[in-house]
Assembly symmetry: none
């Protein structure tokens, strides 16, 4: 029943899923077009029509944002449905400049127990770990970090920070205005933030998830 999609159709279908996930409502034709550099809404509409014809989408005529998803490879839901769990986006690659919650980076979602993130931290997200600079803290490559956005941190918090456009996970240390980011791996040396450097705290790591096997 699952008819084949062209590359373009698949990309657009994926975009719609991600958009809904991020915003809670579907995109307009122009928003889709903007993302794919398609100037004409008609070009977009024909892709949508194709997806409807192939059974992936449903569209309410003459209705703004009237797209609903029929074919659920992975279930897309509202932010949180069960009382004791929440679904948060997984961020993969993070490029400089692009806001971290942009769907450029979105890799999917993961459901976590809400005791990980208390009290309406609905804008939290999960970050996939690259590198091994924190292994002595039990954070390995490809682990998933649960991050709550915040701009400040306390000493020895494990934080996600942006340094000169690069995202890094380190232990935060501040002594008399000297900020240091300390890795948990003997092979790495602490980073000292100089005043002229572009530095900002993205959030604090609240939890770690790891799949084995």
């Amino acid at each position: 029943m699952k008819k084949e999609l062209t590359e373009r159709q698949q990309a657009i279908f994926d975009f719609i899923l991600k958009f809904k996930e991020m915003n809670g409502f579907p995109p307009t034709l122009r928003e889709i077009g903007k993302n794919f550099d398609i100037a004409s809404t008609f070009g977009v509409k024909r892709h949508i029509d194709a997806l409807v014809k192939k059974g992936y989408l449903n569209v309410e005529s003459n209705t703004s944002r009237g797209i609903s998803i029929l074919f659920e490879q992975n279930s897309v839901t509202t932010n949180s449905t069960l009382n004791n769990s929440m679904e948060i986006p997984i961020i993969g690659q993070v490029a400089a400049g692009i806001p971290i919650t942009s769907y450029e980076n979105l890799e999917g979602t993961v459901v976590i127990d809400s005791s990980f993130l208390k009290r309406g931290q609905g804008d939290s997200f999960a970050l996939k770990v690259k590198g091994d600079s924190m292994i002595e803290e039990g954070i390995f490559e490809n682990d998933l970090l649960l991050v709550t956005p915040q701009q400040t941190a306390n000493n020895s918090d494990i934080i996600v920070a942006m340094v000169d456009g690069e995202v890094t996970v380190k232990t935060f240390m501040k002594k008399e205005e000297r900020i240091r980011l300390i890795p948990a791996n003997k092979n790495y040396t602490p980073i000292e933030i100089k005043p002229e450097q572009d530095f900002s705290i993205i959030g604090k790591v609240k939890g770690v998830l790891r799949w084995l096997n």
Copy 2:
């Protein structure tokens, strides 16, 4: 922080949830108004504004159907949705003799993403880690291990095993009928299972969860 809603606001909030559930996209002001016999969109808008101010909704300005849900208390939503999560019991202390899944040991439950445990491993459970024998594998004290019950294991699987009535987590190694349980901590030595010992494999570790803070 959960501010009180008026009866009307509550009803409208519920309607928005239900509408999204049914249609896949949020309602417009006029659609809400129609449902409640409110002729003026402005009347509806003020309810929405109130819900935003109280932290239940988020609204994208000048955007059709720009409503997204922030606060999900328990309400009308039928959760026909989240089939991508499951709730499993947490085992705390494990005493000899008592079956491990006995309610004696139960400490609560945790919701996890079902991608941790594929295919009907519904009898899986979570085990709270005692001791530091696996820290080099990134498993720390008080971490939660996701365990799928099984009686056999492959080499270098991380398993939960019962040795002489004691529960232990180690890496499994078997060479020519010699079974060894290898810790991931230089301060511990591998355990060699002798034939006369009471030994059984409880399950295999499929994932690790850790709370920070």
